[in-house]
């Protein structure tokens, strides 16, 4: 016999990123602006703490919810940075990346037939996550003219008022958009009026260049209906260590932990030691990476402006989201790769809202960025 995948799996197409990855892999000497992770390594002292924990034989499971010492550090850190107030005992769950956290939350709250609105363009795993949990995703396409912010208008137009939950991500992958406290206020009001649970993926919270990051959970009456996700992948350049955390009211964290304790048992132990060190002592490393990204952001935006490529002023994460010079962003990205050896990701990989755009990652050294954009420019002419 052949083993048939389930209907749920068949419902989810392979990621559009994958196809591009295969194209890029066939070509030699490319410069990739298609990478969704930092080009830095984790701060050395965090790596050292991981090594030291291994030397000390710290290789057993931790508590299901993660080491309490780590949860305490996390709670103190988000309190200090974002004014979020969570009890490390009951309201914080350490997960295997934000990826696991989002999956747990969806499975913990979605019943078959529930509708989950997903702001788009979006990181690729939300919609599949909704489907795997038995729900129906509803795309809420943000718009270039709103600088890809989520607004009441697009929420209403997409029918999100009838949804049960809303997944959002600011600072955003793939657009680099951020939202201010006032702008989030509109979304919060909509969520309250329509009784939506909000899943807020804030993994890029440390990378907001034009204003301080605000968590939607800090807005009036939002804490009770919001699950906040954050982690160490982006700000601390720890993607491969797979560590994140979810924060929310005790009932929902308890429900998520019910799944987590059976399916994951606990997040990996070694990275938990690295994360404690990261929170205790790596603020300078984070600041240094932030400065580098910010310079590259300015560089990329000013180069696109010079080329006459329309690009809204991305203000977060490490992405710019220019309009594709050809209407068909996939065709453009393929041609750019083939003729100039420069890889960018077509916006369609991030849902319908992304069509006609390109995701340009600046998690790449400045000399490569310069060269890649020079090739981009010569391709245009």
């Amino acid at each position: 016999m052949t083993i048939e995948p389930s209907e749920r799996v068949k419902q989810v197409p392979p990621s559009g990123i994958r196809r591009f990855f295969e194209l890029a892999e066939q070509q030699e000497d490319i410069i990739s602006l298609g990478v969704g992770e930092p080009d830095f390594s984790a701060p050395w002292s965090a790596r050292e703490a991981a090594i030291a924990s291994l030397e000390a034989g710290k290789t057993s499971y931790t508590a299901n919810r993660g080491k309490l010492e780590l949860r305490e550090h996390i709670a103190a850190d988000v309190e200090q940075r974002y004014d979020l107030d969570y009890d490390p005992e009951e309201e914080v769950l350490v997960t295997t990346g934000v990826s696991e956290g989002v999956d747990l939350a969806l499975r913990a709250i979605v019943d078959p037939g529930d509708t989950v609105a997903v702001a788009q363009p979006a990181y690729v795993s939300y919609e599949p996550g909704v489907i795997f949990s038995g729900g129906d995703p509803l795309a809420v396409a943000t718009r270039r003219e709103d600088e890809f912010k989520l607004t009441r208008a697009v929420l209403e137009a997409s029918g999100a008022a009838g949804a049960d939950a809303l997944v959002m991500n600011y600072p955003n992958n793939p657009t680099g958009a951020t939202m201010t406290e006032a702008e989030l206020g509109e979304v919060a009001a909509f969520a309250r009026e329509n009784d939506l649970v909000v899943l807020s993926d804030e993994v890029y919270s440390e990378l907001s260049y034009e204003h301080e990051h605000t968590s939607i959970a800090t807005l009036p009456d939002m804490r009770e209906r919001t699950i906040v996700f954050n982690g160490f992948s982006k700000a601390y350049a720890m993607t491969g260590l797979r560590l994140g955390y979810a924060m929310g009211p005790p009932e929902v964290i308890k429900a998520m932990n019910r799944i987590h304790q059976y399916t994951m048992l606990s997040a990996p132990t070694t990275p938990q030691y690295a994360a404690i060190e990261a929170l205790e002592r790596c603020a300078d490393d984070v600041a240094e990476m932030y400065n580098q990204y910010n310079r590259r952001r300015r560089f990329v935006l000013s180069r696109f402006e010079e080329m006459g490529v329309d690009c809204f002023p991305a203000s977060g994460a490490f992405y710019a989201f220019p309009e594709s010079p050809w209407d068909d962003s996939e065709a453009f990205a393929e041609a750019l790769l083939e003729s100039e050896g420069v890889a960018v990701v077509p916006g369609t990989a991030f849902g319908d809202g992304g069509s006609g755009h390109l995701r340009v990652s600046y998690a790449t050294g400045l000399s490569d960025l310069k060269e890649a954009l020079a090739r981009f420019e010569s391709f245009l002419s």
């Binding site: 890029a24 795993s125 400065n291 590259r296 180069r303 890889a343």
Partner: protein
């Protein structure tokens, strides 16, 4: 960070950035970049722009030594006076007053060990205020001015990722 600190950080990272690049990276007007740099130079805060060379990669011998110097002072002679005299020699690439067991730490560079030894024994040691020298030759360099001399960490990220 204000624009002056931003420019200093950029120049310390790579002194070869052009004015146009600095302007882009720091989000400033080119004329303003030039003005800030000119001010820093005039104030004596920006003292120079130099290359960091790993001589081992060039099969060219460069000999370097760190030399501890002890001195005696008197009413007429200060540390500054002695330092001025030593710093004038082009062989001396760095000179610092230290806390601890000795007074100055002097860095010397030359084409051969004999040249460096000759310089220390014939030019530096005879200075009347200098009572003792202890010379340490550099055997290998792993990091200079914040730049690591290894092969660097390879970029093993996937070429495209979500």
């Amino acid at each position: 960070m204000d624009s002056r600190d931003e420019l200093l950080e950029l120049l310390r990272e790579n002194a070869r950035y052009s004015t146009a690049e600095l302007a882009r990276l720091a989000d400033m007007e080119e004329a303003h970049v030039e003005e800030v740099i000119a001010d820093l130079e005039a104030a004596g805060a920006l003292r120079g722009y130099q290359a960091i060379v790993d001589w081992d990669e060039l099969d060219r011998e460069r000999v370097r030594a760190m030399v501890e110097l002890n001195v005696t002072l008197d009413r007429e002679t200060s540390y500054g006076d002695i330092a001025d005299r030593i710093a004038k020699f082009p062989e001396v690439t760095a000179l610092r007053l230290m806390s601890g067991d000795y007074d100055f730490l002097m860095e010397v560079e030359g084409d051969s060990m004999s040249e460096v030894s000759w310089f220390i024994s014939e030019k530096v040691a005879p200075i009347p205020e200098i009572t003792q020298t202890v010379t340490h030759y550099v055997m290998d360099a792993y990091k200079e001015n914040g730049i690591e001399f290894g092969d660097g960490e390879e970029d093993d990220r996937l070429s495209i990722s979500p």
